[in-house]
Every structure is written in structure tokens, then in C-alpha cells.
Symmetry: C2
Subunit: 260 residues, 2 copies
């Protein structure tokens, strides 16, 4: 699988190219304007938004399929991407809805039949730097947009459950996931870092406790710089200590478990 393809082409190829009954879905998370965002796509012929996803080609590892989806949608390579779970309930997809989708794309007969069968989805989440992403879609057929993680529109199939499971997994493993390092630019403010943890933990965090702990564990360091912030007091800027953060991914940052 090299080239990006239009959805119609993909649906037409089907099981000659892809493993049947298997899809990949990617929760792509970015941070912007002090909120955690998730990238969603929509076929213009359909009403519901869905996760960026695809299928596993017969010559691909699932991780490669997920990287392909991510690159096709955002232009990004070499980003933080992890498999986290699978979704396979027999009624998770409304096969009637998929059949309607085929009709709207004018795919008829045997060609599209594979797409009305049952699918088990392999779930991936990715943490990317919002400003580095360029949203690519096939404009004839698709839209793509960032949504606040707290304000998601009605989604296709069980995609809301897939997002909820991803955030719950991240919450349970938060000490092992380099959230800030993957999501923030090189220089960031303490409120920005706190915002990310608040979005994942789903609650407010005490401002002073957070700052004290974040500084005490030695994974970030203050810069001798502030950011211009109009009429407000200019906030201090911080940066990550890369080696320490990589270590944390392996062994966990104790203080980052949800003990703020």
C-alpha cells in the first residue's frame, strides 16, 4: 500500500487487497487553544462523522496500516502511535448503514459486499503536535475537522466507545505516556501542560500542586523566557528534558499517576 486512495477506490478493491473483516481506527489527539482535540472525518454523502481509519493490506503489519492512515490524513510520520484495544462486538456496525453508504457511492453488486460483513476494528491512538498536522482528505468525497474531546458529534458505529476506551486507557496508564512531550510544542506554559492532564483525567487539577509536582520530578525545566500575552501577565515558558521523558515512557512517572 503506497498511494493514498479515494474511498470509492478502496471500497471497490476490498478483499483482493485487504484482510477481510478487519479494520483499523485511529484516535488522533492534538492540543490547541487550551483544549484536547480529536480528528474526525466524514464522507460527504453521509451524515455521521467517523474516526480516520482504513483496512489492513495483506502485506502490511497492522501498525503499518495505522501509520499509513495517520500519514494520509495529517502528513505526519514518526509520531507517537500505540495500539490499545480491539472492538469486535457482532452488532457494533449497522450493516444496513454500510449498505446505504455503498449505494451513495454507487458501488453495486458483489464488489461492495465485503463491506457489509462484520468487522473487527483494531484501535490505535496517536498524540501529535497540532500545529504540524496538515489535514488531507479527498475533497470530492470527504471532510476532516478537529473536535474538542468534550464536544464530539454523533459518530458512526461504536466510534464514540472507541474514543472513550482510548481516553480511559490513557488515564489508567498516564504515568507511562509522554502526554505533554508528544502534544506540546518545544516551549510551553504550565497552564497548557495542566490543561492536557485535566482533559484526560476529566477533572480540575489544583494549579499549585500540579506545578510543584511537575517541577519536582525533573522532567521539565523552566526557560528564562516568557510569552507575550497581551494585557495579562506574561506566563513563563518551560521545556521538556527529552532523555528523562523517554525514560518515563519505559518505567513510568510515579507522580503522574492521578495523584494531583
Amino acid at each position: 500500500m503506497k498511494k493514498e486512495q479515494a474511498p470509492v477506490e478502496i471500497l471497490n478493491q476490498g478483499p483482493d487487497i485487504f484482510i477481510p473483516n478487519i479494520s483499523v481506527d485511529c484516535i488522533i489527539l492534538g492540543f490547541h487553544s487550551c483544549s484536547l482535540k480529536v480528528l474526525l472525518c466524514k464522507f460527504k454523502v453521509c451524515e455521521k462523522w467517523m474516526l480516520p481509519g482504513g483496512f489492513v493490506a495483506k502485506d502490511e503489519d497492522p501498525d503499518e496500516s495505522a501509520r499509513r492512515v495517520l500519514k494520509d490524513r495529517t502528513g505526519l510520520k514518526n509520531v507517537y502511535l500505540k495500539q490499545f484495544c480491539f472492538f469486535g462486538k457482532k452488532d457494533r456496525i449497522d450493516t444496513g448503514e454500510n449498505a446505504d453508504m455503498l449505494k451513495r457511492f454507487n458501488i453495486q453488486g458483489d464488489k461492495g459486499r465485503w463491506y457489509t460483513d462484520r468487522f473487527i476494528s483494531l484501535g490505535y491512538y496517536s498524540l501529535i503536535k497540532y500545529d504540524e498536522a496538515r489535514l488531507f482528505v479527498n475533497e470530492e468525497h470527504e471532510e476532516a475537522r478537529w473536535f474538542d474531546i468534550d464536544d464530539i458529534p454523533p459518530l458512526y458505529a461504536d466510534h464514540k466507545e472507541i474514543i472513550d476506551t482510548a481516553t480511559s486507557t490513557i488515564r489508567k496508564q498516564i504515568g507511562f505516556i509522554p502526554m505533554g512531550y508528544a502534544l506540546l510544542p518545544e516551549k510551553f506554559t504550565m497552564p497548557e501542560l495542566r490543561c492536557i492532564y485535566e482533559a484526560i483525567l476529566g477533572r480540575e487539577i489544583d494549579r499549585r500542586n500540579f506545578q510543584r509536582k511537575m517541577l519536582s520530578i525533573g522532567y521539565i525545566q523552566p526557560l528564562n523566557e516568557t510569552r507575550r500575552a497581551g494585557a495579562y501577565k506574561s506566563p513563563n515558558l518551560y521545556t521538556f528534558i527529552k532523555d528523562k521523558y523517554e525514560e518515563a515512557e519505559k518505567y513510568g512517572i510515579q507522580v503522574m499517576s492521578n495523584n494531583f
Copy 2:
């Protein structure tokens, strides 16, 4: 899927009954003689041990398939069972090895061909009470045995990687997993509980710290009983406070993150 079936029958049925290219593998963990054990099976015609596993019937949710495997192997229902990851690398299975297996079972021609294709495995782990399990296998074809988690024989395909990923996932989420509650009998000693955490964390834990923290978080309570222990001092017995443990599974036990 109702009745347990011999491996030969299952391999003969194949894609008429099951979703192609998908398997489930179960890491069944039990605790005995102060060590954490994993249940492994072996076809008598093969040399390598493997995880208890099976396929997903077309009318089953994968969770139901995993529960079926678990019940067929141990007689247990209603146990702690969680999906944790999937394994799908294109070279994860030696298809030649699978073809050899078919030959040994004397399955020829088209019938077994589905089994020499690529499989994506859905990984489950289960925590069970060792003394309640009854190992069932098809004795004509199979063996089943508990192995110390630290002393596992050479395994089929990527099954060692599946076990390592399961223990690593449990380690990262240890505050959210009712390890002791699921693995220990109603009455247990403090060293038994500590043993479980040591096996999962892969290191020794300070005896006194562990005891102090376990008691301070209020999830276990001392009983006014000891266990007879021959010439040694009789150790005190403890029990779990069920409601608290169920709460912990939802919200996490902060102190159980690897901070002993």
C-alpha cells in the same frame, strides 16, 4: 458455539463457522505456592506449548469466544477477563509450522487451508482462583499445565510476546486491576498478596512498606485468625473488603501504582 470440540474437529470446520484470519488467545493467570502461574496447552503431536486459544464464531462477540475458551479449559465462568491488545504482525506465525500441524492431524487439502493463512490474535488475560480451576483438555490430543510466569518453556508463534505484553499492561494499570481479589482465596496472608505484586512488578517489594500501605488504603482487613504453619510462626490472615475493591477497579487505587 456450544459444545467443546476436539482440535481436529475445529480445524476441519474452519471458515464455515469462524471469522477468517482472527484468533483469540487467553493468558490465564493463577496463584499457587507463592508464585504466579500461567496456563499453557500443548497438542501431543507438537513440541511447543501454546496459550489456550480459539477462534471467533460468526455469531459470537470476541468476549464470548474468550469466555468459551476459558470455560472449556478450566470449567470456570464469571471470572475476571479483560481484552488487552491484539497481535497481528504479518510474520507472527510460522505458516510452515501450521502446515506441519495439519499434516500431523492428517487434515489434507482445502479443509485445512484457512489455518495456513495469516491470523490476527485478540489478546485476553484472566485472573482466576487456582484452586477452583479444573484443567480440561481433549486427552487424546492435548496436555495442559500451569507454568511459573518466570519459567516458561519455548512457545508457539509470538505467544511469549503476548504474555509479556499482558504482564506489562497489568503492570502499567496495576492500580486499576483487582489482582489480589481475583487471584487469592477469601482468606490470605500478607506475604501471599505481596508475592503477586512482586511477580507483576518484577522486583522485590519492601515487606513493611507493603503491609503498611495495604492496610492504610482500607481495601483489606485483618481477620482474628492465623494459619497453622508447622514449625513457623503462624501468619495472620486477611480478607478483602469487596465493595472497596470494586470501586478500585473503576477509579484506581492510587497507592498501588508501583510506589512500594
